[in-house]
Symmetry: D2
């Protein structure tokens, strides 16, 4: 069944495997007249790129994207925007040894069960490389949102046991360190921790937090397509994500209604605001104008150098050990992916909201 | 924008407000030839029904559903199944006092911002009453899943600070107590706690866990429509939900890859299974045949008897205090809703999976 | 597969069989704030109703519709509008004799082949009764279009060999005669012809033409969802329709480009118009502001009193003869159905057009 | 609004303009395990290609397609198949003179009204070049259909006044002449006629007929997604199409029910068949196993060498005369496009049909 599209009005379709000709995305529904910011696409692809620092995989992907359609004289035309990113540095041979293997906690086994075959080179369609296409499309979505003043910023708030205290956040410095943590000291700790994990031949999980500021009021639908439900699906569709929470999240379980409720008041300009924001900017599935914030849990990368028991395609026991070039912790590179998926959801609901009143 | 449908092949559309003629659902895409189990619909609606016990709201809704189409001589015909549930016990006057109010952490304000008007009687379309339609549709989905041997069971695993230990679960007794906790002692504690909260005029949050057993292998799509992404959206679309996690969930953050990976082995019948199940039965977005399990966080109900500051439609400050008949804790009644939404997702992916191979 | 919805942003889902509890429609995506004109729904349902005149079936359906949701204090709220039309005058026994029969050129055989069963009472889901739900929804779409000044009028332009000359049309008198022909003399001829056909125990085909005036410019999409492609699908989805053409239609085949082209000029108010309208108001799939016009061919009704050879479910030869109460010619009752489907397409594209520019 | 996708389960998304980098298509939902027939793609693209004969445009497009994803070791993998066709021979300068012009009966005016801008080079997105992407995707659909024994053949049945008699058809010779008419003598007449029209600097319309043989029974949905409704939309979405009819089509208007009905009988193998086929192989929207046949009317190409009055973007009167390289008659090149769109509809319904029974 066709399952490679995301969004309804601002809709993307991605394609491509990690070791074929390349990956790409078609963005359908982007309004005409938007000035294209090529640098933003480049920057976001660089932020996602493997090999960008000592704590990411050393595998190098050159992200030379091409815009194949939908842009004329520097502006979107309202027709589908097609972006292609060729695969480079394809060492298919690196994967010959896993041709018949089911790597633990990868998609090898389930994919084979579903389709009866699989492109075993680097995970094929299940490779996280697919997310580069999302990042490119997300950059276009960010341009649309920026036109309406909406801004999205994600950052790393936890790596293994090392947590970032909410009070110590300076979003201006997120990109100043390779872990993308908006606090210098915590960033250092995280980096040191990851380097140690890497030396052990192991991997570790983490959390990416995201803030959407200056969100318009009224975005989101009241029933199935609640804004946070669509954000949740978007995040859970990213490789290695295990959980999603927004506003108070799982902590809400411990709170009483009288504590949890966000009371309405007016700010100095007379706008209706809330005195707290346990709602995370969304009430009844619809944005209320306060900051939208949510958190995304990532599991440790499944490829580890340590030896592990497994079963192969022929049903035989075998020992597996990661030989590829992989990340010890996925979260620094996940930051732009979280932003991209959030931007796609917001752009979609921005357009949807244009049709609900006479 | 049309946002009242859920699912692609097994697709439901719901309608109705808490205080109009009634609510309903149209189920489109249910295969023909399925024997209808009317009792299951009745039972599940009763489990969701308000006023079912001392720890739920005393508001009474009589859930006398009618099947308007799609069933002939006791079997589904392949045409849309329409189920209507009339509203009874409609005390619209109960809501006259909130006509112009924006109740804290309800959808009153955002809904008005979005649509420019609102049916203020009992939350209108944003009322949790809409979920009765989902439960009815979910019962049909459960029948379809049962035909393929798939079983879904949800239960309450936490109320405020009271947690259920994983080792102490007996799913056979979930329905034997009014809190729907699969452990007698913990159930008692939870009930006592909720009664105390109610006396305080307050409310409290909780967690509903869900287990899907005997799931087929190969359900779910590898990219956007990952099985857990669709389950996540389904859960996050339920009123009052703040977070979703599956398998190891947020705990995965603290784990190392070598601990987290689920190793493949063979069971006594020679089937490929995993020795642990941090994957929660889903790898790369596709079911692997192990038990699927996930957890859903509910916030405390927003309507509290305690007085709270707010702003009304005219922009004036006002004091709000809940007078309606509301639940002190939503989780016992949320159990069948979680099951229903899970069933809808599984039924949809079951049908989708029929089309991926020649 | 779910196939009972139509439209993307202004989206309807219908359900119901000719002899169950009733039929209905859920309209999702209608903007909030639209004043509901109940009389229009009633009028259009009456225009489609069987038994309305001597040249239609004498079967009586009382079209007492109920609005179950989506309207509050006389206006749409932006939530799904559910309309239910109960079945009355259900003489299921009339159909006992065709329980195992495959009536020639009905859906009995194909439906059984597809679903493995069938609700044989009156055609079940394949009955033209389903179109009453479309007419009710179409009335809502007409209200939305009227808000923007768009008007839709259909009429009978041919019955068997009796054609209406384009020059002799007065759309003000369409509803003044039972055949719905906008010319008194031709109407009389058509009626006489149909009465004769009825006496023969036979049926005859016809053409319904439709004009959409004051259409906004810019409606329709340039590729797959061309305005006329969506209108075509809408019309072809009506029971008994065999063909669709717009503007010059099949006559264009005989024309040369230099004759067929519609030259641009300016009218007295300085608006860009075309000097001819072979385009039928649509160029490149997008409306150009000129009158949209198209024609829909209906086959003769399949139920005839004359005896016909057939095969039954058991594979045995049998003789079939229509005993039900059926129309000798479907076109007079098809007029409001054509209008309704046209309105649904136009309403959908009106909403879609709101999202294509910044 | 996103409108560049077609189909539900076998779903394509196209992109690209006539004078950008190229055009392309992403096919989502093609089952895994299908052996790819590259030659069929090449052949069908050649059949659609401009410049293939003296009666088509002399503009040359080299259709060197690339498959970017979805195929591994010669078979489809179940992931999206992306096909890209680079633009060659791009004489953008040819179009500088029409930058501000609204060519009569082209999409220039409506496109500008809708989007507020336009890529004026060769029609941009509205160019028939987009159909090359459909033809490539249609070839994949044909491979899937061939696996199930379903075969699609289109041919030219009318050019201007020159009609092909139904009795004189030999589908084996369709491709033996440049007009693609399955009768040698009529082909010659058509070619002579078109050459004469070309000399006049004019263009002419025509009809493409299509036959689908060995169609499975049970394809199509009974309500909105009737098989012929989806075929009709598919055809009407092709550039220059003005009408669609299936089976008896517009001729049904003149027939009586007793003549039109297709009586059921058994053939020599005991299969249920009909003695005539006015239904065109589809009853109640669902295929009955007989040959499916339909006809598509094409208008004369809008670009003529003759001078024509028009209005430009600035609202000024101007004279327009075609200078580009265009076809005198579109039908020979439309044959593979009609087949491709038919194949896409059939492939979609083939997959949809897999989900309607337990």
């Amino acid at each position: 069944m066709a399952g490679n599209s995301f969004g309804t009005l601002f809709r993307i379709t991605t394609y491509g495997e990690s070791h074929g000709a390349g990956i790409g995305v078609v963005i359908d529904g982007c309004p005409s007249g938007l000035v294209l910011d090529n640098e933003l696409i480049t920057t976001d692809l660089q932020r996602r790129k493997p090999g960008q620092s000592k704590i990411t995989t050393q595998r190098k992907e050159e992200e030379a994207y091409k815009i194949l359609s939908g842009v004329f004289e520097g502006k979107t035309t309202g027709t589908p925007i097609s972006i292609f990113i060729p695969n480079k540095d394809q060492r298919s041979k690196d994967y010959a040894h896993i041709k018949d293997s089911f790597r633990p906690s990868h998609a090898d086994y389930t994919y084979t069960e579903k389709y009866g075959n699989r492109d075993y080179r680097g995970g094929g369609r299940s490779s996280a490389r697919e997310t580069a296409a999302r990042v490119a499309a997300g950059a276009i979505a960010k341009m649309l949102l920026a036109h309406y003043g909406i801004n999205i910023q994600a950052y790393v708030s936890q790596v293994g046991p090392i947590k970032l205290d909410k009070e110590k956040i300076d979003l201006n410095i997120t990109e100043s360190n390779i872990i993308r943590c908006p606090n210098k000291e915590v960033a250092k700790e995280m980096i040191t921790y990851i380097e140690q994990i890497r030396k052990e031949g192991d991997t570790v999980g983490g959390i990416v937090s995201c803030v959407i500021s200056n969100s318009k009021k009224g975005l989101g639908d009241p029933v199935f397509d609640k804004l946070h439900a669509d954000l949740g699906k978007a995040m859970l569709s990213i490789n290695a994500v295990k959980g999603f929470e927004y506003g108070s999240g799982f902590d809400a379980v411990l709170m009483k209604g009288s504590e949890h409720n966000d009371l309405f008041t007016k700010d100095q300009e007379g706008n209706i605001v809330t005195t707290s924001n346990h709602s995370g900017g969304i009430q009844g599935g619809i944005s209320n104008g306060m900051e939208i914030h949510f958190r995304v849990a990532f599991k440790p990368v499944a490829t580890v150098v340590k030896k592990q028991d497994s079963i192969n395609k022929m049903g035989q026991a075998e020992i597996i050990s990661g030989k590829g070039r992989h990340d010890p912790c996925v979260v620094p590179r996940a930051v732009p992916i979280v932003e991209a998926m959030a931007a796609l959801v917001m752009a979609d609901h921005l357009l949807r909201d244009k049709t609900v009143r006479l």
